[in-house]
C-alpha cells in the first residue's frame, strides 16, 4: 500500500467483529487517529501496523488522537498508540471530565485481577502514557475535553482542514455524571469488571471539513431521548458548521437507535459514501439485516469492514465437546478476528463523486 498524496484526503476504517478504529489523513502527512482496535494477533493496535506499513513516522506525523467514548470495543490499544505518537495531542469526551468517571478509572486499576477489564483500565493506561510525557505531573491529562462546537484541529497549509467535535451536548455531560455514578462500587460489593451498558450519548461525533469534501464520523452516538441529547442535539446545535459531508462513518454499527432521517437530510450529501464496522457481541449482532436494508435506502454506497454476516461458524472441536456445547448453549457464533479495512481517498477540494473506495482484508460492499 502507498501513502496518500500530501493533498489527498483519506479515511481508513478498520474493524473486526468487535472493535473499531478510524484514521484520517489531514493533509501534508499529518494524521488523526480516532479510537483503536487490535490486529488479528491481538498484540498491536491495527493503526500502528497500517501507518508503519505505509511509511508514516507515527512519532511525528500523528497530530491528534481521540477516543469517542470509553467502551472497550473503541479503546483497546489506545495507550500504546499514545506511547508511539509522542507529538500527538489527545482528546476525549468532555463527559468523562468528572469525579465519577475518574473514580472508575482509579478503581479499575485495583481490579486488574479480573481478566478482560473494561475501557476504564485502558483509560488509566492512557493517563500513565500522558504522565510519562512530562516531568510535571500536574501537566498530565487530556489536551482536549471534546464537546459540541469545540475545534480540535485547524491547519491551512497546504489545504484548509479543520476537525470539530459535534457532541456531546451540554445536557449529556450533565447526565453522564449520574449514569457513571451508578457504576461506582459500594462497600461489600463484589469486585468485578466495570461494564458500561448505558446509552452512547457521551460519544464524540467529529466533522472533518476541508475546502471541498467533508467527513462525518458518527462514533456510537444514538438518537437521544430529546432535542438536548444525542443526534437530535447535533441537529439543533447553533455551533455546528453548516456543511454536508460526502463520507459518513455510520454511527453505532448501523443500529436503528442511532439513525434518524435528519442525519441524511441535513448533515450528508445525497447518496454519500457510508462505511461501518459490525458489532458481534451480545444477543443481537449489529447491523441487522433490517439495519442494512434501511441504510441502503439512503445510499447505494455502503461498505462494511468484514464479510457479511459479521459472524462465522464456530471452530470444529472434539466430537464430545461439540455434543456438550449443543446440549448446553442455546446459540453460538464465532467473531471474526482479522480486522477488515475500508479506505476512502479523494483530493482535498474534490467532489463527492471523486471519493475512491478500496476494500482490504475481507471488507465488503453491502
Amino acid at each position: 500500500m502507498n501513502p496518500p498524496q500530501a493533498n489527498e484526503l483519506e479515511l481508513s476504517l478498520f474493524g473486526a467483529g468487535i472493535g473499531e478504529c478510524v484514521v484520517v489523513h489531514l493533509g501534508a502527512g499529518n494524521w488523526m487517529v480516532v479510537d483503536s482496535c487490535l490486529n488479528a494477533a491481538g498484540d498491536k493496535p491495527i493503526v500502528l501496523e497500517y501507518l508503519e506499513g505505509i511509511g508514516v513516522d507515527v512519532a511525528s506525523q500523528v497530530s491528534l488522537i481521540l477516543i469517542t467514548h470509553w467502551h472497550d470495543d473503541h479503546i483497546r490499544g489506545i495507550a500504546q498508540i499514545l506511547r508511539y505518537a509522542t507529538s500527538a495531542r489527545f482528546g476525549c469526551s468532555a463527559a468523562l471530565n468528572s469525579k465519577e468517571f475518574l473514580t472508575l478509572v482509579v478503581a479499575d486499576e485495583d481490579i486488574k485481577l479480573v481478566e478482560h477489564t473494561s475501557g476504564a483500565s485502558e483509560f488509566a493506561d492512557v493517563l500513565k502514557a500522558l504522565d510519562s510525557r512530562t516531568s510535571k505531573p500536574c501537566r498530565a491529562g487530556p489536551d482536549h475535553w471534546a464537546c459540541d462546537g469545540l475545534r480540535l484541529y485547524s491547519e491551512a497549509n497546504p489545504c484548509r482542514v479543520e476537525v470539530h467535535a459535534l457532541s456531546p451536548s451540554s445536557q449529556t455531560v450533565t447526565d453522564t455524571k449520574g449514569d457513571i455514578a451508578g457504576l461506582i462500587p459500594t462497600a461489600h460489593q463484589i469486585i468485578r469488571r466495570f461494564h458500561s451498558t448505558g446509552p452512547n450519548d457521551l460519544s464524540v461525533v467529529l466533522l472533518v471539513s476541508t475546502a471541498g469534501l467533508h467527513l462525518l464520523l458518527g462514533a456510537d452516538l444514538e438518537r437521544g431521548g430529546d432535542r438536548r441529547r444525542g443526534w437530535q442535539a447535533i441537529l439543533g446545535s447553533a455551533l455546528r458548521p453548516r456543511v454536508t459531508s460526502s463520507g459518513y462513518k455510520v454511527a453505532h454499527h448501523g443500529s436503528k437507535n442511532a439513525d434518524i432521517d435528519g442525519i441524511w437530510d441535513n448533515l450528508l450529501v445525497n447518496n454519500p459514501c457510508a462505511v461501518l464496522t459490525p458489532f458481534a457481541r451480545g444477543p443481537k449482532p449489529l447491523p441487522s439485516d433490517d439495519d442494512v436494508s434501511r441504510i441502503k435506502k439512503k445510499t447505494n454506497r455502503l461498505y462494511c469492514t468484514t464479510a457479511w454476516p459479521p459472524t462465522k461458524s464456530p471452530p470444529r472441536r472434539d466430537k464430545a465437546v461439540e455434543r456438550t456445547m449443543r446440549e448446553v448453549v442455546r446459540s453460538r457464533r464465532a467473531v471474526r478476528k482479522c480486522p477488515g479495512h475500508i479506505r476512502v481517498r479523494a483530493p482535498f477540494g474534490g467532489k463527492p463523486e471523486d471519493l475512491m473506495v478500496d476494500l482490504f482484508d475481507g471488507a465488503t460492499a453491502l
Binding site: 467483529g17 485495583d110 479480573v114 481478566e115 493517563l127 498530565a140 461494564h195 448453549v329
Partner: protein
C-alpha cells in the same frame, strides 16, 4: 540388655474394604498392585531398658511412657515412610479427569433465564472469540447470584473416569473475587478528586467557538 518394642501405630484402617495394609498383604498383591499410597511414618521405636526392670511390670510401663514422652532419652528412633495401603485392580478407586476443552467467559448480558457471554478459548488460543447464550439452569444455583455483566467464569468439558465408568462432564464455575472495602472506596474517591483538580487546571483546547 532386653529391648521392648512399642506397638506400631497404624491409623488408616477405618475402611478395610477399600484400603488394605500393604505390609499385611505381603505377597498376596505382589507385582500386580496398580497404585500404592504412602502411609504416615511408622513410629517404630526401640527402647533400651535396664535389665532389672521386669517386662510387663508397672515400672516397665512407666519407663516406656517416660521414654516416649522425652525423645532425648531415646537412643534410637526410626521414621520410615512405608506404604500403608496398596490398591489392587478392581478394588482401586481409580478416578481420572480428562480435560477436553476449557474456556474463560465474560458475561455480557443477563436476562431472566439466560445469559450471553464472550468465550475465550484457553485450550487453543488461536481460536476466535465466541459469543454464546447459556441458559441459567446450566449454572450452579450457588453461582447464579454472582452472574452480572462483567462476571468471569470458567467452563470445562471433559471425561470423568472412575471405576464405575466414564461420564462426560460440563462444569461452569463463576470466579469469586473479593469485596470492595469502604477504605478502598474512600481512597479511590480521594485519588479521583486529585486527578480532577489536576485536569481542570489544564484544559488546553485550541479554540472554542
Amino acid at each position: 540388655m532386653p529391648t521392648a518394642t512399642l506397638p506400631q501405630i497404624d491409623e488408616a484402617r477405618s475402611d478395610p474394604f477399600r484400603f488394605r495394609n500393604a505390609d499385611a498383604m505381603g505377597d498376596e498383591i505382589g507385582e500386580e498392585a496398580d497404585a500404592m499410597l504412602p502411609s504416615p511414618p511408622l513410629r517404630r521405636r526401640e527402647v533400651t531398658l535396664e535389665q532389672n526392670v521386669a517386662e510387663g511390670s508397672t515400672e516397665h510401663v512407666q519407663r516406656i511412657q517416660q521414654v516416649e514422652g522425652s525423645t532425648e532419652h531415646v537412643p534410637a528412633m526410626q521414621q520410615d515412610v512405608a506404604p500403608l495401603i496398596r490398591l489392587s485392580p478392581g478394588q482401586a478407586p481409580q478416578r481420572r479427569f480428562k480435560v477436553l476443552q476449557q474456556w474463560e467467559g465474560v458475561v455480557s448480558e443477563v436476562a431472566d433465564d439466560t445469559m450471553w457471554a464472550d468465550l475465550y478459548d484457553l485450550t487453543d488460543q488461536s481460536n476466535p472469540l465466541e459469543v454464546v447464550e447459556i441458559p441459567l439452569e446450566e449454572i450452579d444455583p450457588a453461582d447464579q447470584p454472582l452472574l452480572r455483566p462483567g462476571s468471569v467464569f470458567y467452563w470445562c468439558i471433559g471425561y470423568d473416569d472412575t471405576s464405575g465408568g466414564r461420564r462426560r462432564v460440563s462444569e461452569i464455575r463463576v470466579r469469586r473475587t473479593p469485596e470492595w472495602s469502604q477504605h478502598a472506596i474512600d481512597s479511590m474517591k480521594t485519588k479521583a478528586l486529585d486527578l480532577l483538580k489536576r485536569f481542570n487546571g489544564k484544559d488546553e483546547s485550541t479554540t472554542s467557538q
